[in-house]
Amino acid sequence: MSKSIKIRKGLDIRIKGDAERSSTEAPLSSTYAIKPTDFHGLIPKLLKRVGDPVKAGTPIFQDKYREDIKYVSPVSGKIQEVKRGAKRKILEVVIEADKEISYEPGAPVDIASLDRETAKEALLSSGLWPFIKMRPIDVVANYTDTPKSIFISGFDSSPLAPDYDYLLYTRDKEFQAGVDILNKLTEGNVNLQLRAKGGADASFTQVKKVVTNKVSGPHPAGNVGPQIHQIDPINKGEVVWTVNAQDVAIIGRCLLTGRHDASKLVALTGSEATNRKYYRIIIGANASDVLNGNSNTDNVRYISGNVLTGSQIEADGYIGFYDSQLTVVPEGNEHKFFLTKGWLEPGFKKLSNNSAYPSKIFGPKKFDVDTNLNGEERAFVVTGEYEKVFPFDIYPVHLIKSVMINDIDSMEKLGIYEVAPEDFALCEFVCTSKINSQEIVREGLDVIHKECM
């Protein structure tokens, strides 16, 4: 049954640096990388060594505790390097790419003939399983579970987010194929959420076998968390799976063609990016192939993802597995005089959700931002700012505090099962005390995963 939901609490962060709706092919990178750090909680077990040849679709590592979940190479070539960090933790598996990609042999899959178990087997064996994540906990889904429903968000409301209608333009067959196989995995519905104001691409509006729900309201309306909370809330013991819309199309394409074609569109955004548009890359591409000549390089921060939930990378780092956006913003590492740019400035151009700054009413349409903390970490003061931007029926401050003191009972009673770190991104943005809420929620979810699930 379709639903129409309104997200009443949240905040649209309007900053400069949108990407224009045009695309180009990024040059083929000389190296690609799959980063185990993109998959939270994963302990990788390497299946290939440095120097081993691989093809697109060849498994290069697997989950140590769930060996059926394979992580495959996006391109053909050979393993160039395995970068390790502290305690020999694997950070990146770097692949030196061939000039022309060759694929693991495979045949197109007849999705209609699959049942649940064979559908899971098809996804696991082709390395497509990591695209599916689960709630609660927000990690790669367990293939032994049966979710009560699957959620796909058809739009992204994050700052400078790519337009999903443009990402999926002419991908309707691939998207339908992805939806078809997702339907095999659940007893319940595959829910697709679109903006209530309409105008979605045909890939979304003409897809079959989904329940289309309409969502209105500010960010985080595009996040699956608030959508699940209002459409099909998770009770204890239940599991819901989520897949990114562009990843659904990748799943569909790989199954229809029988080869691991992991190409996707990525939006280059941010005020320091000069040539802001969409670039076609292969998952795991080197960011320099998109950034070179298309962004400023002096004192900037490169982010794989959006400014709220993305991860910082170097100029020659690798784009994240799940990311459809590269953001370039200026570093704010300079002191600001308190009367002109600091804490006592008039504030007509200062981005803030707080009434202490007149920019909330008299400010520009889009703001300049940098990565300055705008203060320092202070005691966790209750100011009411979290509640203004948190659309769940949960007490966010109490939940954060219960995680900080490691009180599992309180965490469960306060709704830790319903949230993911990305749901607290806006709370972290508006926080007066500059608390790292997302990190704290992630620690709480790790404790819950270890102790209660």
């Binding site: 962060i13 900053i15 700052p159 921060r301 982010i303 400014v307 709220l308 939930t309 993305g310 910082q312 953001t327 913003v329 570093e331 704010g332 590492n333 300079e334 002191h335 600001k336 005089f337 308190f338 002109t340 740019k341 600091g342 804490w343 006592l344 504030g347 200062k350 981005l351 803030s352 959700n353 707080n354 202490a356 700054y357 920019s359 931002v369 940098d370 990565t371 300055n372 903390l373 705008n374 203060g375 320092e376 202070r378 005691a379 003061v381 100011t383 700012e385 770190p421 991104a425 972290e428 943005f429 508006v430 926080c431 007066t432 005390s433 500059k434 790292n436 809420s437 997302q438 990190e439």
Partner: protein
Amino acid sequence: MKFLRNIFDNAHAKLNKSEKTKKLFPLVDSVDTLMFTPNHTTSGGAHIRDGIDLKRTMMFVILALIPCLLFGMYNVGLQHDLANSTIEWSGVDQFLYGLMKVLPFIVVSYGAGLGVEFIFAIKERSCRSRGIFSFRNVDSTDYAN
């Protein structure tokens, strides 16, 4: 404001030269962070942050309490005048009387609070704010009687 920034940078450099003077870091840091927003950038999580911080929030608390304070000062003078059974002074005189009575309370209470904060910050070698401006602001009406 480059010259002002240079003063603080030089002060920090000189403080860091010996262990004894390092203890005085909270004193310099408190004035430094009063004059300049620190150059700390975000690490992990959200890469951009709201412009609001606790300093501006508390400054607005103080601004909001100033009308109460001014009225309270006037009230001290008015009550003093009434206690003499007749109103002889003008409003300005009443206010000035109240100002003379209330201002020392404010100076002593904030001075004592800040002083204790600094002493413990130096002792514990920690610059954590103890929330001086979170204390209930002294209301001058308390001292009318």
